[in-house]
């Protein structure tokens, strides 16, 4: 019971170290693995996004270039005269439409910005564009793709215009690109579920409509992030579309993965974005797997730790139990000697008062006898009771005396007279002394003395005391179990390991319970009735055997019998 607390703390220490020590590297591996994988997954996601965006840009650039070359082809193969009427223009327009239906209209302008011919859904003929920004631009550069603007028609569109010089005079061919078609084409980027693409101009205004709300020509809230000159595709791994969806606060914090690239045909920035959650959805699945592994792994570690701790503790308990019992045996041996001396002292002190009781009793007895003689006591019954009490006093003093005698004997530690003893002769001598008693109780006494048995080193008197004690105990146990029939007492002697001789006294008596077997060597432990046994027999034996540098063991089975084994050092002179 007193071990419970240290046990608990030990359990805690072992358990925590058994859990923590594997857990730390395990978690480290998990986390490192997770982070590396996360990075590589992210990189791959970003790379694939870049690839898609690059492809997309090429497609848009190609589209713009083709539309431009369409117009250049027309302008190179026609003269101003052949196109300056709307009818002629219509014919060309229809041809153009067969190449690309992205052309909404076609118009021809003279040097002064006058719209001389037009074919298309609007009525723009005769309007003067001299001050329009695109007109100025094309007059200067020769080829111009405009930003999206509202223009006279008040509808967002952009145009491609090309100037041609003919006999000192310039004229201009212009076509409007179908906003819807362009929009669709730009927007038709497929990246995950939330992917979208749009174009902003140098001022950050939407040139196409993003899928997620906002109108063309509105400014992109994140334009300040994107609008910077760069080559190739640039990615931003975390762009918060703060303020993107007005009035949709839950979407406000959506984090985006963004890739941008400048078009080649026109200083427009292609922006592709995808919600991060969506972009890295593979990562999430991966995270779940890692989490699962972590949980299962931890559970396994904890389980194993608990399991092993239990076993370890059991083992430790076993070992410390063994150690404790070893220790207690040692303590036992030294204590026995001390106890012996102490007990002898006590016994001595007790004997003095016992002697006084004796004397007093004798005196009383004497006086009583006198009184009786003189007929001073006439009550016969009282007299008898008194005499009975007197006798009891003698008996009880006698009993005390036998205890003190036994204690004194026990405490007596005379130096043993060590000599070589030939057990072939010695054992029969001793069994001889008990053969009468055994015979009366119907106990068959057997001796099995191995021929190889060497002499032992010991004190004859002491060894006799030990064996007689063991025999007497055995006879008692046998009597208790069998009465006067069927008892068996066997003494076997044989050489044992480490130059020793083993004397085993085996009986088929009552046996000793597990509980008692630990105590039988303790002084005063007895199961006999009060007054019948002192409980010193075995402790004396133990002390003696110890003194002879031998060992003493017991094994017993309740209802089967008991074997006491005494090992004594063999004589160096070998066999006698």
């Amino acid at each position: 019971m007193k071990q419970e607390n240290p046990d608990k703390t030990m359990r805690k220490t072992i358990l925590s170290s058994m859990i923590l020590i594997p857990m730390i590297p395990f978690m480290l591996v998990i986390f490192i693995g997770y982070f590396y994988s996360k990075i590589s997954i992210e990189n791959r996601t970003v790379e694939s996004m870049q690839r898609i965006v690059e492809d997309h840009r090429q497609m848009i650039d190609t589209f713009l270039r083709e539309r431009r070359t369409n117009l250049q082809f027309i302008i190179n193969t026609h003269s101003f005269e052949t196109l300056n009427t709307s009818r002629n223009l219509e014919f060309v327009y229809h041809n153009l439409r067969t190449i690309s239906n992205a052309f909404v209209d076609l118009g021809v302008f003279n040097e002064d910005g006058l719209h001389v011919a037009y074919h298309g859904p609007y009525q723009l003929e005769g309007k003067v564009y001299k001050d329009e920004p695109w007109f100025k631009e094309v007059m200067e550069t020769g080829v111009h793709i405009s930003d999206v603007f509202l223009g006279f028609r008040d509808y967002p569109h952009f145009i491609i215009a090309i100037k041609k010089k003919e006999n000192d005079r310039s004229w201009i061919l212009r076509a409007t690109i179908d906003t819807h078609i362009f929009n669709t084409m730009v927007g038709r980027i497929r990246i995950g579920d939330t992917g979208e693409a749009y174009i902003i101009n140098k001022q950050g205004l939407f040139q196409t409509q993003p899928r997620t709300g906002r109108d063309i020509l509105e400014p992109d809230p994140a334009r300040s992030t994107y609008l910077r000159p760069h080559e190739g595709v640039k990615t931003y791994t975390s762009v918060r579309d703060f303020g993107w969806f007005l009035g949709q606060p839950d979407a406000v914090q959506n984090d985006h993965l963004v890739a941008t690239t400048w078009l080649k045909e026109k200083p427009w920035l292609l922006v592709a974005r995808q919600e991060k959650q969506d972009a890295f959805s593979g990562l999430r699945a991966f995270m779940y797997i890692v989490g699962l592994i972590a949980v299962i792994g931890s559970a396994a570690i904890v389980f194993v730790a608990f399991n092993q701790t239990g076993r370890l503790l059991q083992r430790i308990r076993d070992v410390s139990g063994e150690k404790a019992s070893l220790k207690s045996q040692l303590i036992h041996a030294t204590r026995l000697a001390e106890l012996g001396q102490m007990a002898a002292g006590f016994a001595h002190e007790i004997n003095n008062p016992l002697q006084i009781i004796r004397s007093e009793q004798a005196l009383m007895d004497f006086i009583l006898a006198e009184m009786k003689e003189k007929k001073e006591i006439t009550n016969e019954q009282s007299l008898e009771e008194l005499e009975d009490s007197m006798r009891q006093m003698i008996i009880q003093v006698e009993r005390c005396a036998s205890i003190t005698q036994a204690i004194l004997k026990f405490g007596r530690h005379t130096e043993p007279q060590i000599e070589d003893i030939d057990l072939h002769l010695f054992i029969p001598e001793i069994t001889g002394t008990i053969s009468n008693k055994a015979g009366v109780l119907g106990i068959s006494v057997k001796q099995m003395i191995d021929d190889e048995t060497p002499h032992v080193r010991g004190d004859k008197g002491q060894l006799q005391q030990v064996l007689l004690n063991l025999f007497n105990n055995a006879i008692h146990a046998i009597e208790d179990r069998h009465g006067s029939h069927g008892g068996k007492l066997t003494v076997s002697v044989k050489p044992a390991d480490n130059a020793s001789v083993e004397i085993a006294v085996q009986d088929n008596g009552t046996g000793i319970s597990q509980e008692n077997i630990e105590k039988i060597f303790s002084p005063f432990f007895t199961t006999k009735q009060p007054g019948k046994g002192t409980g010193l027999g075995l402790s004396v034996c133990y002390g003696i055997v110890e003194g002879l540098k031998g060992t003493m063991d017991v094994s017993s089975q309740v209802g089967q019998g008991t074997t006491f084994t005494v090992r004594l050092p063999a004589s160096e002179n070998g066999k006698g």
């Binding site: 001595h348 002190e349 002697q355 004397s359 004798a362 005196l363 004497f366 003190t404």
Partner: protein
């Protein structure tokens, strides 16, 4: 017969003396070895019952002194703790018996009687020897000790 009991247990002295007196013995008591030795000088003691373990000079020493001063006085050792060596020692120093407490009073009396008988025998022998001596050398007067015989 005069008995001297030397023991440090007063009550033992008291009740044993009372009992022995009632039984008709002449009993003296002393509670230490020194007192016992004094008494031995004063009175004619035949048998001493001597406790071994006592404060002061102790039983063994008392035995030695008694035997030195009064060789014919019989000493019965009485002890609460009897080891064989001790008993052998005591007998070697001239004790006539070695009894272990507790002993019944009747047993004790038995031992005392035996010792006394032995002393008588011994004294008679000595007296006879002295008489012969006296016959041969009437001038030499050498008493063996300061005691004279006095029967119970």
């Amino acid at each position: 017969m005069k008995i001297l009991i030397i023991d440090d247990e007063e009550r033992f002295l008291h009740s044993t003396q009372k009992l022995l007196k009632r039984k008709g013995y002449d009993v003296e008591t002393a509670s230490s070895g020194e007192k016992g030795l004094d008494l031995l000088l004063e009175k004619n003691i035949d048998v001493v019952i001597l406790d071994v373990k006592m404060p002061g000079i102790g039983g063994m020493e008392t035995l030695k002194r008694i035997k030195r001063q009064h060789p014919t006085v019989e000493v019965i050792m009485l002890t609460g703790h009897g080891t064989a060596e001790y008993a052998v020692d005591a007998l070697m120093w001239g004790a006539s018996d070695f009894l272990i407490k507790p002993i019944s009073v009747s047993e004790m009396i038995g031992k005392v009687e035996v010792s006394f008988a032995r002393r008588l025998v011994l004294e008679n022998k000595i007296r006879a020897a002295r008489d012969i001596e006296k016959d041969r050398h009437p001038e030499s007067k050498q008493p063996i000790n300061n005691e004279s015989r006095k029967d119970k």
